[in-house]
Symmetry: C2
Subunit: 295 residues, 2 copies
């Protein structure tokens, strides 16, 4: 694993790391924020960029709980890291943040001219169809390979994980949380893509990656109807979101209500789909997860 | 003036606006955050992007104090707007934020291949030399033309202004504050370019834009020695800043101490020159300015 950069930030360390992904068959980059205080002092070096030492095993004490943040279409590991404004409150709460990329990348990796297919649009599924199957295994990457790496290399407590995400990343967060019971204590999402088997954000990609459009195991609304989540759920949705018709988050809200799912679905008047919306409610989500992640 | 975008953000409105600049001879873009609450409700529309109404005059009540944020080399109006994490606390404090661009721009505007000369590197001076003199009038733009526009079009209180900036923008903020006594109640800076007549960030640009390197009227350290600032000053500087030798902020600190300038110069251990540094201390600067900007 290569240290791309490490910047001191709110008393902790905002790092960017690159590693060879076995499941994706390419180099992958991710961001990781280690909070300050006692934990920060045990984390990677916090001086100039690119010279830190992230090669350390876990210690039994001082391990931070970890909140996964899955990003949306066109994003890399970097967007939320620089635009969501999460580090201040994460540092205060002692919560680490993990920012994976949204797809495999590189010259040898299949791509598409559309912004919503191929690189930057992995949709958190394991592709079975050509030309995607060789690299597009983001489900395995985000739920198996990257957790294995970060819990081995950083002082993080794998017993205390939460997961969140924005748009396509909200879809990834919700499906992972419901399909892996016991893995995450809490799940939240900002304007999640919520009913992809009934949306053009979903049918198109499931058809390309999976060869079928009825992938109910990757549909949060259907999973909420069938399984639900054994823990608290928090969803924020802007009422002026320009993608409401594609996200179909109201279908998820209805499924939550029908099921009696523990949690809240909040419609936020006047907010759109941008990071100005995400950053506005980020602190609420961090407090929500921190409550669930206390020892 | 054209509304490029308006996004609801922390109960207020983060807008981006474009206008024809007379002094720069080109279109210029700036960001403006209007805080929420009573003030936000009187500001531009807060729904979808691009359809708001910023064309309104001042009202006598409900005018927000204004904090200018001048950006550094290579930046546009956008960097601080999306990366500095200022809106949450600005909204709580009821302070508006103005984010000007750092230079004139466009196909007809002179440029240079270097990152530190030409577009993105206006240095907050009025150029007298060719090929720059026709457009590079950022001193006049930031201290005269843009204030005239924003105080006419937005509910801002011109009697309550503060100014801050990062790197080259810290240079702009400090020189404006000292040369325009009575204009700004408070000045702060993040890692300011502090002694440009003695730095390669300064001599090169003053030579190109002004035809001379001894531009003491654009040198914060020299202005601090000669004039000082009639109000509080706050400077933050990271000890691991990769540009310490070019910034020469320690010369400014020495001039502040020698003069007995009201204010603080804080060396922040382990922080570098990035927006991870700026965002970490942004709330301190907002509180500092808000204290000075109270009625």
């Amino acid at each position: 694993m290569e240290v791309v950069s490490e910047n001191r930030c709110f008393g902790g360390t905002q790092g960017v790391y690159r590693h060879r992904s076995q499941c994706c068959g390419c180099d992958m980059t991710f961001g990781l924020f280690l909070p300050g205080g006692d934990r920060g002092d045990r984390g990677p070096a916090t001086g100039n960029s690119g010279h830190g030492n992230a090669e350390r095993g876990n210690s039994n004490d001082g391990q931070a709980p970890a909140l996964w943040y899955l990003s949306g279409l066109t994003c890399t590991h970097e967007n939320a890291m620089v635009k969501a404004g999460a580090q201040k409150t994460a540092s205060r709460l002692g919560v680490a943040l993990i920012f994976p990329d949204t797809s495999p990348r590189g010259d040898g990796v299949a791509d598409d001219d559309a912004y919503d297919l191929g690189q930057g649009a992995g949709f958190y599924v394991d592709a079975t169809e050509e030309p995607w199957a060789a690299n597009y295994r983001m489900w395995t990457y985000v739920t198996e390979e990257l957790p294995g790496l970060v819990f081995d290399r950083f002082p993080l407590d794998s017993g205390r994980q939460g997961i969140t995400g924005h748009s396509m990343g909200g879809h990834g967060a919700l499906t992972a949380a419901m399909r892996l019971p016991g893995r995450y204590r809490s799940v939240s999402a900002f304007a999640p893509l919520s009913h992809p088997t009934e949306s053009d954000w979903g049918r198109k990609q499931f058809s390309a990656y999976l060869g079928r459009t009825d992938a109910q195991e990757h549909d949060s609304t259907l999973l909420m109807r069938d399984l639900g989540f054994d823990g608290p759920v928090l969803i924020d949705q802007g009422s002026s979101d320009q993608f409401l018709d594609l996200l179909k988050s109201s279908d998820l809200a209805e499924a939550m209500n029908t099921r009696g799912q523990e949690g809240r679905f909040r419609m936020q008047p006047g907010y759109d789909h941008s990071y100005f919306f995400v950053s506005t409610f980020m602190d609420d989500h961090l407090e929500f997860h921190a409550d669930a992640l206390r020892n």
